[in-house]
Symmetry: C2
Subunit: 320 residues, 2 copies
């Protein structure tokens, strides 16, 4: 029997960084997924393979160690921790497929964790609610990272477009907001926690200024919420552009991201900005009618993918 689970990645539309300082944020699941397939192994050891990421490893699920055969995937830690929490340590073969890049601010670790967890529940024929799944996946992320926002695992499980309020309550947008995005991602890997720490240090050095900027980011997110509910596309784009300048002001922009952001606007994006922590990572361009032009302009020099908002969260199927 093979158990196959898929979970979507996410993008932050508004409020990254500010959300850490209790301002609201808007994020959405996208139609790019991490997929985990699990079946009983014919061998006496557990394997993990990913053709997309070009790696292969043998896992020791009891003590969370592994031997790499090829590749060097950081994502393996999330899979190992999930196995450690849920699996009975019997030998299995795991295949990971990725529609989107790892470590680029698109919630790859949350998607992989949610998919691994659901695939294991399927493999062991264990019933689960989405709420439990999101909760347990968040637990795994915390175990691996030290701290983790519950937002990524929640979006990866439930999908849709989500508003996270100042009170940390998650609410869903009751609109069918379908607009296309293009994601451009840089070759430069960065540590999210390092970038967050740099912003925190800047805030310590210039508290009045940075607090004022963070508060302004909150205002942008609140107006963006209204604009999304009204499907006011120009306004959504404009607010993304304003938000981008504020992200630049707190030092998380790079020359590479800036180049892609301006290029996408030139080719018809209504708005474009860093998505996620910045300092490398990814940018998003909002291009309801010009996603083709924007996609091809970015692809000339950089990596890019087209994504749409996804309302399909975790999916699980089993086959003999």
């Amino acid at each position: 029997m093979e158990s196959i689970a898929s979970a979507p990645g996410k993008i932050i539309l508004f409020g990254e960084h500010a959300v850490i300082y209790d301002q609201p944020a808007i994020a959405t699941a996208v139609d790019k997924k991490a997929t985990i397939s699990i079946k009983k192994s014919q061998n006496d050891f557990t394997t993990l393979k990913s053709y997309d990421l070009d790696f292969e490893a043998r896992l020791n699920t009891e003590n969370k160690t592994y031997d790499i055969v090829t590749g060097r995937p950081g994502i393996i830690r999330y899979i190992l921790e999930t196995l450690y929490q849920v699996h009975d340590h019997s030998p299995i073969d795991i295949i990971l497929s990725m529609d989107f890049p790892i470590g680029s601010g698109l919630g790859s670790s949350a998607a992989v964790t949610v998919a691994t967890l659901a695939a294991l529940y399927g493999f062991h024929n264990k019933k689960f609610s989405k709420k439990t799944l999101a909760h347990n996946a968040h637990y795994v992320e915390k175990k691996v990272q030290g701290t983790a926002s519950p937002l990524d695992t929640s979006i990866s499980t439930h999908a849709g477009l989500i508003y996270l309020g100042k009170d940390k309550k998650v609410s869903r947008f009751n609109v069918d907001f379908k607009s296309a995005f293009v994601i451009g991602y840089t070759s430069r890997k960065r540590s999210t926690s390092k970038v967050i720490n740099q912003v925190s240090q800047l805030k310590n050095r210039c508290p009045d200024i940075v607090n004022s900027i963070i508060k302004t980011m909150g205002l942008i997110t609140e107006e963006a919420k209204l604009a999304i509910l009204k499907d006011d596309k120009d306004k959504i784009g404009e607010l993304m552009n304003i938000n981008q300048g504020l992200l630049d002001s707190i030092g998380v922009n790079t020359s590479e991201l800036s180049r892609m952001i301006y290029l996408s606007r030139k080719y018809g994006a209504l708005g474009s900005k860093i998505t996620g922590a910045g300092g490398g990572g990814s940018m998003i361009a909002y291009c309801p009618t010009r996603s083709g032009e924007v996609y091809h302009s970015l692809r000339k020099y950089d990596n890019a993918i087209k994504v749409n908002i996804s309302h399909e969260g975790i999916t699980l199927k089993t086959r003999e």
Copy 2:
């Protein structure tokens, strides 16, 4: 007899755009000048020549018209208006020399106006105070442009590093702040009033957000004032970078400026930002110890000049 007057250009260090909405600003004269030489003509008409700008024209000072011989200088309007205000319409030969580019946010029109006015006072052997000179030059700028800030003509006359308060009072920094700047200027000409108008429209569409950004720009200028008084170079640079993000957020950045701004930081600028209205125009890089590296990095693809703060305002000499 030849009357020769020189007046410096200026750069805005902090507070452009915000200054229009009653926030403070910091600007400085730089050691690049506009120079006007006036002598009696051997002909029965008045000529204006500039070898630097590659133009030549015959002027009719009585009705403010001109015939171009070569070139197409917008700056001619300021010279004509000044002649109209002050000159007796006798035929003269005028030569304009420029150390810095026209129309790039460096106060070229104010410098040319102040220099023309002083050279005419010298030519006619008329005594004047700097206060009168700045006042009358501002009057000429207003006549030509419709509206004009008195700041440019004031700096061009008096030189030095200037703080313009919320109350519109100009005060001078009593510090010997000598640090080097590199100015990078784009090939893209833009209309200052058009850019200012775009910001005003953005402010009308998103008043809460843009007001908050403008207020934050004011906070930055206030902190920059303290940092300059303490000669805290890292802080000055950091505040310039924050200010740059806010200028980007109100839509006055361009891909070309952004590229130069990031390049200058890479090559050792402590801070870099748009100077003046943006939307094209110029950027400044603050590089107390690395001006050579920054200058050469910018010169690879763009136009750049090294400038220092100048404490020498208008100078006038006459020679037989």
